[in-house]
Symmetry: C2
Subunit: 377 residues, 2 copies
Amino acid sequence: MNVTVGRRTRHYRTVAFDARKNAIQLIEQRLLPHRFEIARMTDFRETAWAIKEMVVRGAGAIGATAAYGLAQGARAFHGRDLARFCSHVEKAQHTLQAARPTAVDPINAMIEVRRAMSVGGTIEEQQALALAAAEEFADNDVKHCKAIGRHGEPLIRDGMKILTHCNAGWLAFVDVGTATAPLYAAQAQGKRIHVFCDETRPRSQGATLTAWELAQQHISHAIIADSAAGHLMQRGEIDLVIVGSDRVLGRTGEVANKIGTYTKAVLAERHRIPFYVAIPFSTIDWKLSSGRDIPIEEREESEVLGVWGIISNPHSPIRNPKSRSRAYVRVANSTSRARNPGFDVTPPELITGIITPGGIIKPSELWNHRGKLGYEE
Amino acid sequence: MNVTVGRRTRHYRTVAFDARKNAIQLIEQRLLPHRFEIARMTDFRETAWAIKEMVVRGAGAIGATAAYGLAQGARAFHGRDLARFCSHVEKAQHTLQAARPTAVDPINAMIEVRRAMSVGGTIEEQQALALAAAEEFADNDVKHCKAIGRHGEPLIRDGMKILTHCNAGWLAFVDVGTATAPLYAAQAQGKRIHVFCDETRPRSQGATLTAWELAQQHISHAIIADSAAGHLMQRGEIDLVIVGSDRVLGRTGEVANKIGTYTKAVLAERHRIPFYVAIPFSTIDWKLSSGRDIPIEEREESEVLGVWGIISNPHSPIRNPKSRSRAYVRVANSTSRARNPGFDVTPPELITGIITPGGIIKPSELWNHRGKLGYEE
C-alpha cells in the first residue's frame, strides 16, 4: 500500500525482492509506528534472523519472506555440483523453517518453491524456477487479499463505522491485508467509512500497526481501549466488525485469533451487529475437529505488566521521528504476576460469515465448500 | 489496611487526621504502585489541591478528605468574631468543593460537617464539632465497607477465582473498600481465593492499584489484559465477578462504572457467572430515571494513545524504588486520534445483586428497599 515519508508517497509491499542484488527488502515492523525503514537482507541467514526477530510478522508476510529466502539461498550458490547445490538448498530451508517453528505459512511456501525447482535440469534452471515460484507465492498472496476485498466490500455501506481488532492488515501480508481489504476496497469505491481500532493489549498491534496503516491510507479512524467497544455498541456507534484469524477450523467453523476477539463477537451478537472474519485459504486448518485442541500460547508476563512505546510528553507528541527510541515502562508493582493467553477461540454461532478469496461462507458451511477453499486430502 | 514498607508492616487508612498538628495524612496515590509515601496537608488549600491533583481519589476517600479539610479549615481560624469565622468556613467549603466539582461525596460530606457544627454556640465548640463530624464520616465509611464485606463474604467459597475490574478497593475509600471488602473478609475467614485483576486500560487502575492492594494483603492474584477475561471464562477459570460503581440508579438498577464493566457483565451472563456490584449507600442516585441520562465523560486522548509507567527492563524490573520516576510512553503513531469514554452503563438484567452495607439486593428491587438504603425525600 502507499506510504508517505516526508513529502514523498510511494507504493510498498511488506516483502519485496531485489533480483539484481539477491536481497530481500522488508518493512522494519519493529520500528513502527514511530519510524518507517526498509531493512535489506542480503543472505538467507539474515532473512531467517529477520523472521525470528519479527522484523517481519504476519502469516502471509512470513510465508513470502521464507519463499524469497529459499530462492535467495539457492541463487547464492556458486558451483557446478548438483548434489552440493541440493544440500545447500536443504540447509537454507531448514534454517528458514527453524526461525519460526510453529508457523505453517513458511513451511507451505517453501514446499511450493521446492516443488517448482524440482522440474529444473540444471542449477541455473532451478535457481530461476525458485525465484519465479517465490514471486508467484507473493503475487498470489496479494491476489487473494484483493479477492477478499472484492467479496467483503459490498458488506460496507457509505457512512458505516467498523470495528477491527489487532492487525490483519497489509503489514501482515504482502499487500492489502485481510480484515483491512474490504476497507481499502470500500474506500476505492468512494465510500466514506470510519474505523475503530481496538488498541489490542497486551502487544498493542491495533494502536501501533492498524492505526498507522489507516493513517497512511487516509482512512478516518480512532483508537479505542479494548474495553470501550461494548459502550460504543450500546450507543449505536458500531455497524460492522471485521477481524482476521490465525487459524479457522474447516470442520467446525471455530476461529482462533488474538485474545479479545471472542469478547467482541459476544458483544456484537448481543447488539445484532454483523461479525465477519477475513482469511486467505492458508488459514484454514482442515485437520482439527475441536477448538479445544487449538493450543493457546501463554505468553510472557512482561507484556501485561508493562508497555512498549516512545518516551514522550502526553500533551505534545515528539515531532522528530529520528530522535525516537523505544522504551519499556512497567505499569504494575514489582511483585504482582500476570496471566497472558495470546489467543482465544470464537465459536461459529457468533460469526456472521468468513470472507475468503473464494467468497463469503457461513462458518458452519466451510466443510461443505472445501473443494473451492483449497482443501487437499 | 496493612502496608509493608521494607520490613515494617503497619495499618494505614487512605485518609487520616493528625489533630495535634491539624494536618491531613494521605496515601500519595499518584506514586503508587512504585512508591509508597504519606503526603501531609497542613492547610485546607493544600487539601483542596490534593483532591484536585488526585493525590487522593475514589468516592469515599475524597468525601472523607473534604470533611477533614473543612474541619481543618475551621480549626485554623484564630479570632473571636463569629461572623468572620462563618465566612472563613464558607470559603474553605467552597475551595474544597471546587477541587472536584462533579463529585457528589465531598459535597455531602461537608454538608454533614456543617450540620454538626451548627449546634455549637462558640467558635471553639464549632471547631470541635467539625472535627468530630469529620471523624464520624470517616468511621462510617469504614463501617459501611466492613458491612459490605460481611454481606458479600458468604458469596465466596473456598478455592474460588474472582474477577474484578478497575479499583474499588481500600485506596478508593477510607479503608477496606467495596468490591475488595468481600475478598478481605473471605481471606479473614481462612478461605483460599485467587483474584484476576483486569488491567483496566486506559488508566490501568487494576494493574497499578488493585494488584498493589492485593499484593500488600498477600492475596493470590494475577493481572490480565482487559481482553483476556472472556477466554478465562470459556475455560472455566472465573467463578465470580465483583466490581464497584460510580453511580447506581436507585429507580432502575442501572450501574455506571469504569469503561469495560458492561463488557464483563455481558460475558458473565453468557457463561452464567454471578456478577455483583458492591457499593456504599452514597453511590445510589435516587433522582435519575434512565441510564441514558448519566453523563459519560469523554476523557483525554493521550490516555489511550500512550501509557504511564516507570522505565524498566521487561526481564528484570528495577528493585530500588527510590530511583523510580514515572514516564509517559506514546504507543500510537503521532497523527492517529483516539476516543476515550471513561464509563459505561450496565443494565440491571446483567447484574446478579448489589452488595450494600444493608445487604444484597437485586438491582430491580433497590427502589422497593429505599427505606433501608438511605433514601431521603
